[in-house]
Amino acid sequence: MEFPTHSSPYLPLRNDLSRLMATVMLALVPGALAMFWFFGWGVIFNLVIATTTALLAEAAVLRWRNKPVRAALLDGSAALTGLLLGLALPPLAPWWIPVIGSLFAIVIAKQLYGGLGYNPFNPAMIGFVVLIISFPLQMTLWSPPGGIMGLEATGFLDTARLVFTETLPAGASLDSITMATPLDESKTLSSLNLTWQEILSDPRFGNYGGYGWEWINLAFLLGGLWLWKRDAIQWHIPAGMIGSLFLLSLLFYIADTDSFASPLFHLFSGATMIGAFFIATDPVSAATTPRGRLYYGAGIGVLVYVIRTWGGYPDGVAFGVLLMNMAAPTIDYYTRPRVFGQRGEQDD
């Protein structure tokens, strides 16, 4: 009898790229729902527009590069990039914001570098950074979290009109329907020489991480822990990032409780949790050795704190991730594990 031949191993393979991406998308659901709850339909518009654009852009570039389109779309990486970018955008941003961000993320940051597996930078964060540098005004269009000070999130139709035609609801001004995020606001307020305690007493700052934001971060934390439990990500990067952010903010908070935000605020405000579990853990652009991943995460945490506290932007997750992307190959090189049977030779 004759049989086919190929190389070992022969057991059924354990993991699958598409399944991995689907798991990550599923883990985003609690966080996305929380954002929807607090920020309304704008979140959904962003997600749909960003994801659709990402998929279309991926398909177009692949066809242009003469690559199989279907297989690449099915791996889910483009959709995930779109989702992550969509979740990072302000809910009242006009429709072309997610379109430009997604296009830039997929075409420039991903495909021009060779497609999945070859991009040195996190595509979603490249898209985000391009937007925040080019369109600073549109990128501040955060609506007040629903329920705050008796305000309701903007309704479906009003949001749609705002997003697609950039016309405000009758009788409303841009200022009346948007509100600075707690991270942004804390910067403004502390520049007015308010102490942290005074800032925190403002209802917009919620209990510890900003009204609404603390729940969103909790939801992302929940999804992230599930990912870790499902073995889709490893603990090193989130632990490194959250750990260093916590330690650094604790240090400054203890030294001067008046001028510096509390560790809890840093952990549960802005993009901390989605960044730690979903963005920094993008394997393609992160460090890969166990020790390297810890340093990589810790580096992001430090950068996030520095940018939030002394930088010109309200949040630092995107810049922190991109800067550490740049350092990832070097980190990998210097944290190569000691090969079994080699004593101390490579233990840098």
Binding site: F3, H6, S7, V339, F340
Partner: protein, 530 residues
Amino acid sequence: MVTLLEKPATFPGGLHLPSEKSRSLTEPLTSAAIPARLHVPLGQNIGEPAEAVVKPGDKVLRGQLIARSLGYISAPVHAPTSGTVRDVGDYPVPHPSGLSAPCIVIDSDGEDRAAETGLQMDRVYEADPADIRQRVRDAGIVGLGGAGFPTAVKLNPGPDHIVDLLVINGAECEPYITCDEALMCCRPDDIIEGIRIMRHALRAKQVVIGIEDSMPNAIECLRKELERVGETEIRIVAVPTRYPAGGEKQLIYTLTGEEVPSQGLPIDIGVVCHNVGTAAAVARAIHHGEPLISRVVTVTGAGVARPRNFDVRIGTPIGDLVEQAGGYTPDVARLLMGGPMMGFTLNSDRLPVIKTSNCILAASRAEAPDPPHPQPCIRCARCADVCPASLLPQQLYWYAFARNLEKVQDYNLFDCIECGCCALVCPSHIPLVQYYRFAKTEIWDMEREREKADLARRRHEARLQRLEREKKALEERRARARKALDKKPKAGDADAKKAEIAAALARVKARKKETQAATGQADGGNGDGN
């Protein structure tokens, strides 16, 4: 000095795999029928293949030497049964390449008459270790765990080494394979006796048998045998079941906490490691005079009707074994030799069983699916987490993929044991092990080419020097001839002629003078002018 740990150490990486072992253990170990025709390959070991000493038409007896070993790392081959040599030539052999190699084909006469081998020893424990080694060498015994390294070489630690610990490997860690377990349960006497002979030959201070804790029966059988013979100096340690616990370096680490140096041998840390099957083969040779002409083979998988273990003569066609295990089921899709992690696929069941064949796995499509299409590596590093050698498989892949044979060695390619854990967990389904094998064989080939080129360069340079020498010699000869010619003046040159005449006259004058002066004296002339 290595010491045994009280609690087994945990080697890095590794995986828990489904065992699938029970299915081949439901029936007892029996001898397989001797086939009508056997194909016995000459190269069944690591090192030099043997050289045939029989020719077509020769009658051979069971256990008779049919091919002698060439060189130190080599093993002789013996006739598995009595019969007639039909041919000596190239036939397909079980190898990942699917290529043919020299084989001796024997037609069995059905009588299975034994030859006198002279391997037997009476007072083994008083014998010189060198004598035992020679007999093990003459018996053609190689490592039966899978690699096939000549056992006699591993029984010779050399004068510079003291063997602190002899590790007997019974940790059969790959799924499906049960040939060692069956042997431990059915022939514990041979194993223990073989271990004692090896201990004596190596003058090993301690002996330990490492067995996976998933085989309580095997542990119990060996323990009882130790009790029966009153042996108290051999320890049995149950090691945690985790693939690849049976890898030599992994097992030694589990038992002692010591790492065999990268690219080194266990003897570098005072350890020697042998397989349980090898120990039994040594006992059969020394006590019963039987060279290595048979081994235990697991025939299993969803592709055979009645999976079981056989004691099989070397050279038996695999198809015959499957037949005796109830034949193929309709599910059979792939035929493997060895386990599903480190074995290789066979293209046909007409290939023979050789000394290193521990398992024939007739797998169904569900057990061994078609390799899926690979996708790009996303550097998730799951491969690095499961690598028992603590390598960075994704970097190795990257450089092997780019055919960068230098970088791939910087990342310690040759510490890779090809266990397959990385490929099994890769979400992008990249055939990682094949990339490493490709790079390894490519590097070996490059080294051979380089050696050949260096040889050619040396020979070319030697030739150029020789030609140069010959040219110089020729020129010298010519120059000498020319010089001789130059002395004779050339015709037609008036001045020269005049000069010659003048010189001749002068000579004549001088001679005259000389003769005059010499008159009445002894001839003291110095012959000038000749």
